[in-house]
């Protein structure tokens, strides 16, 4: 997610807010949070808590994770996170995969 040395707003927020301790759940939490913010750029605390329900953490009690996600939402340019451009050919691959799935 980081662009070279430039951290993604979520990574920055997890760092600033002590949103991790042992670090084991962190990649999953950050990815789940990124997905949440893409769908809902300005979530309430309640929405963050429900949005992260599928990921378990035993260290933080979620307090600072929730705080980090809310802070990242504020940091990310009005809540919109930059999505990196997909790698070349990804769109075709996605189309091809989608073509395989018939309703």
């Amino acid at each position: 997610m980081a662009d070279g040395d430039k951290l993604h707003p979520l990574q920055e927020a997890f760092w600033n807010d002590h949103g991790l301790q042992c670090g084991y759940c962190t990649p999953g939490m950050i990815m789940a949070a990124a997905d949440l913010l893409q769908r809902n750029p300005n979530p309430t605390e309640e929405e963050v808590r429900h949005g992260l329900e599928g990921n378990l953490c035993r260290c933080t009690g979620y307090h600072n994770i929730v705080k980090a996600v809310l802070d990242a939402a504020k940091m990310g340019d009005g809540g919109t996170l930059e999505t990196p451009a997909p790698p070349p050919g990804a769109a075709q691959t996605a189309e091809a995969v989608a073509g395989e799935i018939k309703p």
Partner: protein
């Protein structure tokens, strides 16, 4: 050394700053290396054939269906020097400790007991191969209830002892009979503190390599130094040729404070086969064969005068230790006894512990280890006593508080608290939460079928495990010490490496310890690398558990840094032709007092120490110092917690509305880390109170063997927490610090339980045991109504 005599630091002021963690850049970019991220060329994979029976004779083991190329080992193949260790030998107390082999010998004693070790090339093929091993069992009678296990005629877990009782152990002080005789009111309660899991999100894992007569073991452990020692003793390799590395460890909470069969088994198999052997625990194995905690039945009898003065407190603990004894199993329940006075003046206190065997996996240390159980029973029973006396709960507590003390308070049981100000913590808590306001809200919510309650807990605990003369073989009986080591190595450029004997697994030592050393040496914490968890680097250490790292290991780091500073001052004094006593550290420079223009930074001093052309007469070159620090006492953090809950009377569901915690762990080194520890700690206590339970049925089958059945709290079930602090320095160490890793858990379960009981009192519910699941709460409401649920 008392806190007031603490050596002056640089004034750089890194101690006390909410510095964001040095650990995090690698962890937020997916570059952490946990055991499962490490692989060796040619490595084999291990899997275990585990007993589906809780108690049975092994009749036969048929490996004929195992594919070629996969090796299967059973007990008869093991040529180890010893079984798995148990390290508590209390003087004058007989502890019945059965042999505990890496692979079961003749009989299995619990579900999951390993019967065979399967090793092969492929991670998935060995699991299939383990399923192809056919074991015939002849079932034996099972006992899972510790009280039933104590009755005559009970099924015996280890028949050679003729009993399931492991030991009886007591700690008391004051005149109990006189205390009860002068009591106006005596109440009795039976408090069940059920079995829970550590629940670390990273499962355990081991990678062992035997190469060129040397053994290297990577393990997801809290205790790499212990593991090296026991590996050496069990597999028979001299300690100097054993290296244990705890890489990134994904949480532990006590559950990785052990010497496990899988660690020894993989090391042994690697030596047998001459190839690296790896095993990663599955989640089901994690709940089945990573040790559990708690599982006490506490029978409490308390006497008090009409005015609320407590006169006597007697607790009998029946502790379900499970089928074997792992590293500290029978020692954990006695730890409850050390804090059975709580924060109160109780003149006569007696705790009798009965450790019992059942056909379940062993219990051992889980976050708080004995102190959550004690605090839960004390604080829940305080509320019960207040109700009996018709007295306000907080008034009862204030009536009995030990008055503030800054340099020692001897309890009747001989435990000397270091410092405390319990009234202050409670006052601070009440600045954040208004009981009358909660009561008014409760009135309004009642119409909607919501019962709002508020609960409190005022606690102290014992941590900073040390001092060796008290905990060691001649004292409490732990076969080890309580000291900690640190080495501060200043490199020629002035960069610093700190080696600590503690072994963190998420706490943030790399940051907090760097802040301590930075202030003692006048450098930036970013220029201090903290190395831990590798027995081949720093000195022998005693690892991380029991909230000991900062109070013991952090103080060791401070003392090693002080030694470096002392030598640095001598070098600077010599170079500047001044008296060493006149050299002070100011703004990152060693200067002659009052002459800031003349001075040397640590880098200059290091240059002089490693290019030693102008050192004081007789001084050795180099700038590298080591300390072994053995404290004079434990430390005793304390605090006051409150919780507001809403209970839906129709469904029994409990919602935590607010949780406010005031904790005192002395002067903060890094407030960010303290809050993080408190948040996680509360969640573990709250999780036990509301959701989590390791449950076996009467046949000894584990019912809660996955995270579907074992309900770890999720973000959606918790509130944000409100935290605050009071600061009462400990006189025990120069930093004045106390541990904080377990405090939240120790206070948490009682706070929540008292809140739920408070909510339900209008419905006639007066007492409840954890876990307060909707089913249990709903049943209690209906029973109180006189209805049949």
């Amino acid at each position: 050394m008392s806190a007031t005599e603490a050596p002056s630091t640089t004034g750089n002021g890194h101690i006390g700053r909410a510095l964001r963690r040095k650990e995090d850049p690698r962890l937020i970019t997916g570059r952490g290396s946990y055991v499962d991220d490490i692989n060796f060329v040619g490595q084999l994979w291990a899997a275990w054939v585990r007993s589906p029976e809780a108690h049975a004779k092994i009749v036969s083991i048929d490996t004929s269906a195992v594919p070629e190329g996969v090796r299967v080992f059973t007990h008869d193949d093991l040529d180890m020097e010893a079984g798995l260790p148990m390290a508590w030998v209390p003087p004058g107390v007989e502890v019945k400790t059965p042999d505990h082999w890496v692979l079961a010998k003749g009989e299995v004693k619990h579900v999951g007991d390993p019967v065979a070790l399967v090793v092969g090339d492929d991670r998935y093929a060995v699991v299939d191969a383990a399923e192809a091993v056919v074991v015939e069992y002849d079932p034996l009678p099972v006992v899972t209830d510790p009280e039933a296990a104590l009755e005559s005629g009970s099924a015996l877990v280890h028949s050679q002892f003729g009993t399931n009782k492991i030991c009886e152990w007591s700690l008391g002080g004051g005149d109990l009979d006189a205390g009860f005789a002068e009591a106006d009111v005596v109440i009795e309660r039976r408090v069940v503190n059920h079995r829970i899991a550590g629940g670390a999100i990273e499962p355990r894992g081991v990678l062992a390599e035997w190469r060129a007569d040397r053994l290297t073991v990577y393990s997801s452990t809290q205790v790499p130094h212990f593991l090296r020692l026991f590996l050496s003793l069990i597999v028979g390799v001299s300690e100097d040729r054993v290296r244990v590395v705890a890489p990134e460890v994904g949480g532990a909470f006590g559950s990785k404070l052990n010497i496990y069969a899988e660690e020894i088994g993989c090391a042994w198999a690697s030596m047998k086969l001459g190839r690296p052997v790896k095993w990663i625990e599955t989640r089901s194995e994690g709940l089945m064969v990573t040790h559990h905690g708690r599982d006490q039945i506490d029978k409490v009898r308390v006497g008090a005068k009409r005015d609320g003065t407590i006169t006597a407190w007697h607790t009998t603990i029946i502790a379900d230790c499970g089928a074997y004894q792992t590293l500290l199993t029978p020692m954990i329940p006695p730890l409850s006894a050390f804090v059975m006075c709580g924060v109160y003046k109780t003149p006569a206190v007696q705790t009798d512990v009965i450790d019992v065997m059942t056909n379940k996996f062993p219990t051992d240390a889980i976050r708080g280890a004995g102190r959550p159980e004690a605090t839960h029973l004390i604080e829940v029973v305080m509320d019960q006593l207040a109700e009996e006396l018709g007295m306000d709960r907080l008034e009862l507590r204030r009536k009995n508080f030990i008055p503030p003390f800054s340099d020692g308070h001897e309890t009747p049981i001989g435990v000397a608290y270091d410092s405390g100000n319990y009234e202050l913590a409670l006052d601070r808590l009440l600045q954040h939460i208004d009981v009358d306001e909660v009561r008014a809200q409760a009135e309004q919510l009642r119409d909607q079928g919501i019962y709002r309650g508020i609960g409190f807990c005022t606690y102290t605990e014992i941590c900073g495990n040390a001092p060796s003369r008290i905990v060691g073989p001649g004292g409490f009986g732990l076969q080890g010490g309580g000291w900690e080591s640190a080495t501060v190595r200043v490199h020629a450029t002035g960069a610093v490496t700190l080696y600590t004997g503690t072994s963190p697994h998420g706490q943030g030592h790399e940051t907090g310890f760097a802040q301590i050393v930075a202030d003692r040496l006048g450098i930036d914490p970013q220029n201090i690398e903290v190395i831990h968890g590798d027995t081949q680097t720093g000195p022998f250490g005693l690892d991380t558990y029991g909230s000991r790292s900062l109070a013991v290991g952090g103080e060791a780091a401070a003392r090693a840094a002080d030694k470096v500073a002392t030598k640095a001052k001598a070098i600077v004094a010599h170079q500047l032709e001044a008296d060493p006593a006149d050299i002070v550290l100011e703004d990152g420079k060693f200067i002659v007092r009052g002459s800031p223009e003349k001075g040397m930074a640590l880098g200059d001093v290091a240059g002089a120490a490693y290019v030693p052309e102008n050192l004081p007469e007789g001084m050795e070159p180099g700038l590298d110092e080591q300390t072994f620090y053995d404290p004079d006492n434990f430390v005793f953090p304390f605090g006051a917690h409150a919780c507001v809950v809403d209970v839906d009377a129709e469904t029994g569901k409990v919602d935590v509305v607010r949780y406010v915690a005031v904790d005192d762990c002395g002067p903060p080194i890094n407030p960010l880390l303290i809050d993080g520890q408190v948040h996680g700690g509360i969640t573990h206590g709250l999780g036990q109170a509301l959701f989590e339970q390791i449950h076996y049925d009467t046949a000894g089958q584990l019912v809660t063997g996955s995270f579907v059945d074992y309900a770890l709290p999720t973000a959606a079930e918790l509130p944000s927490y409100e935290t605050d602090r009071t600061v009462t320095p400990s006189p025990v160490n120069s930093l004045g610090v106390k541990g904080v890793g377990e405090a939240g858990t120790i206070a948490g379960s009682a706070t929540v339980t008292n809140a739920v009981i408070d909510a339900l009192r209008p419905l006639g519910v007066t007492y409840l045991d954890m876990p307060l699941t909707p089913m249990r709460v709903w049943q209690a409401i209906n029973e109180a109504k006189g209805a049949t649920p």
